[in-house]
Amino acid sequence: MRLQTLITLNRYFKKYLWTIIAGTFFLTAANFFLVWIPVFIRRTMDEISALGSQVDQSYDSLFTVLFSSEAGVVLARNAGFLLVAVALYGLLLFATRQTLIVSSRKIEYDIRNELFDKLVRLPQRFYSQRDTGDIYIRATEDVVRVREYFGPAFMYTINTFTRFGFIITMMLIVSPQLTLWALLPLPFLSAFAYYISGYIYSHSRKIQQQYSRIAGRAKEAFSSIRLVKSYNREAYEQSRFEEESDQYRRKKLRLDMVESLFHPMLNLLIGMSVIIVIWKGGQMVIGGNLTVGNIAEFVIYVAYLTWPVASLGYTVNRFQRSLASWNRIERILNEPIEIKDEDKTDHEIEGIKGNIEFNSVSFKYPDDDTYALRDINFKINAGEKVAIVGRTGSGKTTLTRLIPRLFDPQEGAIYIDGIDLKEIPLGVLRKEIGYVPQDTFLFSDTISENIAFGAQEADMDDIEEAAEKAQVRDNILEFEKKFETILGERGITLSGGQKQRTAIARALIRDPKILILDDSLSAVDTKTEDAILQHLYEDLKNRTTLMISHRISTIKDADQIHYMEEGRIVESGTHEELLSKQGRYYEMYNKQLIEKELAEI
């Protein structure tokens, strides 16, 4: 399974294969030049040593030494080589980052796009099964973590191996014995880094949770401030907050304790290596097997190995995390999209008239045991106004959501103009439906963008007209920037009624054949509601309108009223017919009458 995961992940490399190969080459070359720096230092020292023992009286002025002697040439040559190696190393390192890390950002971009594309196409079934916060984290944090696999994790791995390879080779050439001694502390360093980064990761999550708890406490207290104050409970809230605050401090300190070990430990182990080099190397120099230059060389090698070795542990950890994140993302990418155009879709269909028929439709939400809709049968002719009433949870909203195929029913079928819903291209179907949901959702964009959301070709006149029909134009014109006013966090907040009316405008501008109003006028006052309904009833005569409402004033003129209870339609008819039936609708109406009479006593 792990391998499979890795294979699917690695396909993202493909697009940037040559860049990545080049980057790998640059990094390898950079490390190749890096190892020459200590070599030239050793050479200089050895050569000085040799020169010094040959002649020891002729060097009386530093100027002579550096610029006009045999020694000067030696020194300048070595320093020059050293500088060339350094310069090449620097240049190649620059090239490495510009290729490898840049590619990782490009891959991240690709993954993000792919994931977002998938998310907008996934059916509502997917969203109803999952927590939105969870999906959000997949699409943000998990992508960031996967990126680390392509970026730092990949780069550090290449770096560790190539640098290690070159340096160890050089060290072995000088002295296998000293190499062994010098490397002794390094495995500990790697293991330690692995352990620490794992601990930090898992503990950071706990701290993050505690941090959210603090924020949650503050949110509760601040948003309930009137209650807290009126009951004189400030001290209690303070103590509850301080408790979380204290927890946070403790957890953070525990992490700090481990973290505070990291750098000192790194320092200790590397310091150990250096000391061993001096001790063992010194011993060998005394024994005549090595030169002081070799000691200098080894000291630098060890320093060069510090970070790659420490990063090895860290990289392994990152790598595991990246894979875990990728697993989660992949699960989303592999989710089936079951609501889409299929073979039986008739692409000849370019529009609909608006006849709707439900034929023995039963539906239950995924992961739910009970049916939300049971055996729904009804017919709406194009242009009719139909109302659905019933208690909260009786299935009204669910019913309307099946028409634009947000969900497909498990049993029965829905027909538009006599054609099975599944044969109509999804794009055509949805284009012909204007849906105003119960919870008004507007995007953080301009008002005009929001209204024209489903009508990309709409111009300003269309937008204003739709706003006028929804009785929200005057409100919008009162804003300083009018239709260009930005909504949401960075902009202004509309009142509930204004939001609903904007959402109605968004539906109307599409000039839909079917208009669905799911309790969409609840926050609108009755006068405005009447005005809106006037428009809907009068100049939109050829539209099929399906509305859910709780106000009898809204629904009593409907051509048909369906009363729903526990997922079934239990009564149907016009207002008068239903009253004469003396059933539930009548009961509901009557109850109000009695209340009214009672009130009049």
């Binding site: 977002f116 409970r233 310091g271 909260t392 949401g488 409402s549």
Partner: protein, 610 residues
């Protein structure tokens, strides 16, 4: 120049104020500085010891001496380790302590602010003050300062050792410094801008994703998948490019630093090599210098990083102290009076009030009286000023003119605590907290026993559903009681009001969506609660009003009619009658319609408060 100076002053001022929070730990801070000093010494002395090992022992073939030096090296290494660990832990410990008290102080301050403050400031912003603004000080307080000192010590020690070995070679190494400084300076400036951009882009991409997950059905219903994907790609591209900018700067900076450090080494070798030939410099010195040249750049880079930390910490602390400096506009009386025997008599005398100075008065010359034991109902259209009366009685706001008396005492002469202890408030939104049912009812007041709670719960018939919950009264509510129904939440807030057994019960009638059975229970509970108590009900449903002893009809900030239900209904052109007729239309649609109309009211009252 002068503006520079004033920002300088502001900065030192902020640091001084921050210090006030660190002050309790000042001896530990000193200890930490001492530890850092020792650690810095232990860390920087080792190349010097290396030099001695090479020159005095290896060069003289003195193995025993070498072993001694090696042991000394191990000793300094281990003590540096111990000192560093102790020091890091110590600094983090008092850093967290400081943050802890600062965070609590901020919370306390916000909580103590008047209600108006909460109208003006979005909750999100207030949460930021108590969380992320405090976190931004973490780096500064938990290691910034001490490490800064540590870096300085290191630099000083390194310079000392270098100069004591060879001043010429030291100067050669230092010659590369200006280049490093300049490179770092350039880099910091560029990267800072680039990172600000990255942060913006991350926020843009993430909020776009969040919004589209929440509004996915709209995207699909309106066939915007393709278009929104394009929008996303654009943001995503900006995000990627912002990062690529920073990569570029880092790709230049890190190699540059490496190169400069290596150039310093090359210079040491070249110049030092020449000197070595003349016998002025030993090999040991060369090896030590190679180490120092590497070590030296580290704290210098650290210093510039810490400067950045300091900057962002100052920005956060400025916001925090600005908050702590705000004045609470509801003053406590200087010589508070007390009510010996609270009876619950309330009188509004010619009260004028407005929320915002430039705007119209919300209450205009309001006068009315509530006799102890009376049930008063206040009705009126949205925006008539009903809720404002509750706000004023609780002194959430202070009135502009007139006076409000409780048992004959001006409420401004009572301590706020005493004043509020006379009332029990039931709010429209039936606020519940995360915690057990018991805690939600007692609000953490340990004087309230379980028996009292059960007794009150039985009275309002909340006991029946509570006992069915797992753990009954110890059932933990999550997310503000979302697992309970609207009606259940309402009943819990009734029990809460009951156990506090107030002289005056204030109900901002919650007219939420409940089924008729619950509504019957709720209405019954209402009557139970009001029995034998002074009560003020802000009524949204006229059905609750009918039993009231007195109904005040508010219209455009004035009390226009007063009387009982039947009295008021008799007025042909009365406002109450009109209101009644208006409501009648809504009542037709039953319980759900009242729910939506109350939602509308909530929206508009909150607008009115801003």
């Amino acid at each position: 120049m002068s503006s520079d100076k004033s920002t300088q002053n502001v900065d030192t001022d902020l640091l001084k104020r921050l210090y006030a929070f660190v002050r309790p730990y000042r001896w530990y801070v000193l200890l930490a500085v001492a530890l850092t000093l020792s650690a810095s010494f232990m860390g920087t002395v080792r190349p010097k010891l290396t030099q001695m090992a090479i020159d005095e022992h290896i060069a003289n073939n003195d193995y025993d001496g070498l072993v001694w030096i090696v042991l000394l090296l191990v000793g300094t290494l281990i003590s540096e380790f111990v000192l560093l660990v102790a020091n890091t832990y110590l600094t983090r410990w008092f850093g967290q302590g400081t943050l802890y008290s600062l965070r609590n102080r901020v919370f306390e301050k916000i909580q103590s602010m008047n209600v108006q403050f909460f109208d003006k400031n979005p909750i999100g912003k207030l949460i930021t003050r108590t969380t992320s603004d405090i976190e931004a000080l973490n780096d500064l307080l938990s290691h910034g300062v001490v490490n800064l000192v540590g870096d300085l010590f290191r630099i000083v020690f390194i310079l000392y050792f270098m100069f004591s070995m060879s001043w010429e070679l030291s100067l050669v190494v230092l010659a590369t410094l200006p280049i490093l400084f300049y490179a770092t300076f350039l880099f910091r400036a560029k990267v800072r801008v680039a990172f600000l951009n990255v942060r913006d882009q991350i926020a843009r991409v993430n909020s776009f994703v969040q919004e589209h997950i929440n509004g996915i059905d709209i995207v699909q219903l309106f066939g915007r998948e393709e278009k929104q994907r394009e929008h996303f790609e654009k943001r995503n591209r900006d995000h990627r490019d912002a990062y690529i900018d920073t990569i570029f700067y880092f790709a230049i900076f890190w190699p540059t630093v490496e190169v400069i450090a290596s150039v310093a080494m090359a210079l040491v070798i070249w110049y030092g090599g020449g000197r070595a030939l003349m016998g002025g410099v030993t090999f040991g010195v060369l090896v030590a210098f190679i180490q120092y040249a590497r070590q030296f750049f580290h704290p210098i880079r650290g210093l510039s990083e810490k400067f950045n930390t300091l900057q962002s910490a100052l920005a956060s602390s400025e916001r925090i102290f600005h908050l702590l400096d705000l004045e609470n506009e509801i003053p406590e009386p200087e010589h508070p009076k007390t009510i010996k025997h609270p009876r619950g008599a309330i009188e509004f005398k010619n009260v004028w009030f407005r929320y915002v100075e430039e705007e119209d008065y919300v209450l205009k010359d309001i006068s009315f009286e509530v006799v102890p034991g009376e049930n008063i109902a206040i009705v009126g259209a949205t925006g008539a000023g009903k809720t404002t009366i509750i706000n004023l009685l609780n002194r959430f706001y202070d009135i502009d003119e007139g006076s409000i008396l409780l048992d004959g005492v001006d409420i401004r002469d009572l301590t706020i605590r005493e004043l509020r202890s006379n009332f029990a408030l039931v709010l429209q939104d039936n606020v519940l907290f995360t915690g057990t049912i018991h805690e939600n009812i007692s609000l953490g007041n340990t004087d309230i026993s379980r028996e009292e709670i059960v007794e009150c719960a039985k009275k309002v018939e909340a006991h029946r559903f509570i006992k069915k919950l797992p753990g009954a009264y110890d059932y933990r509510l999550k997310e503000r009681g979302k697992s309970l129904s609207m009606g259940q939440r309402q009943l819990i807030s009734f029990v809460r009001a009951m156990v506090y057994d107030p002289g005056v019960l204030i109900l901002d009638e919650a007219t939420s969506s409940v089924d008729s059975e619950t509504e019957a229970i709720v209405n019954k509970a209402y009557r139970k609660m009001m029995e034998g108590r002074t009560s003020i009900v802000i009524a949204h449903r006229l059905s609750t009003v009918q039993g009231a002893d007195k109904i005040l009809v508010m219209h455009k900030g004035k009390i226009r009619e007063t009387g009982t239900h039947s009295e008021l209904m008799q007025r042909e052109d009365g406002i109450y009658r009109k209101l009644y007729e208006l409501q009648y239309k809504e009542q037709l649609a039953g319980e759900n319609a009242t729910a939506s109309s109350s939602e509308q009211k909530t929206v508009e009252t909150s607008e009115e408060n801003i």
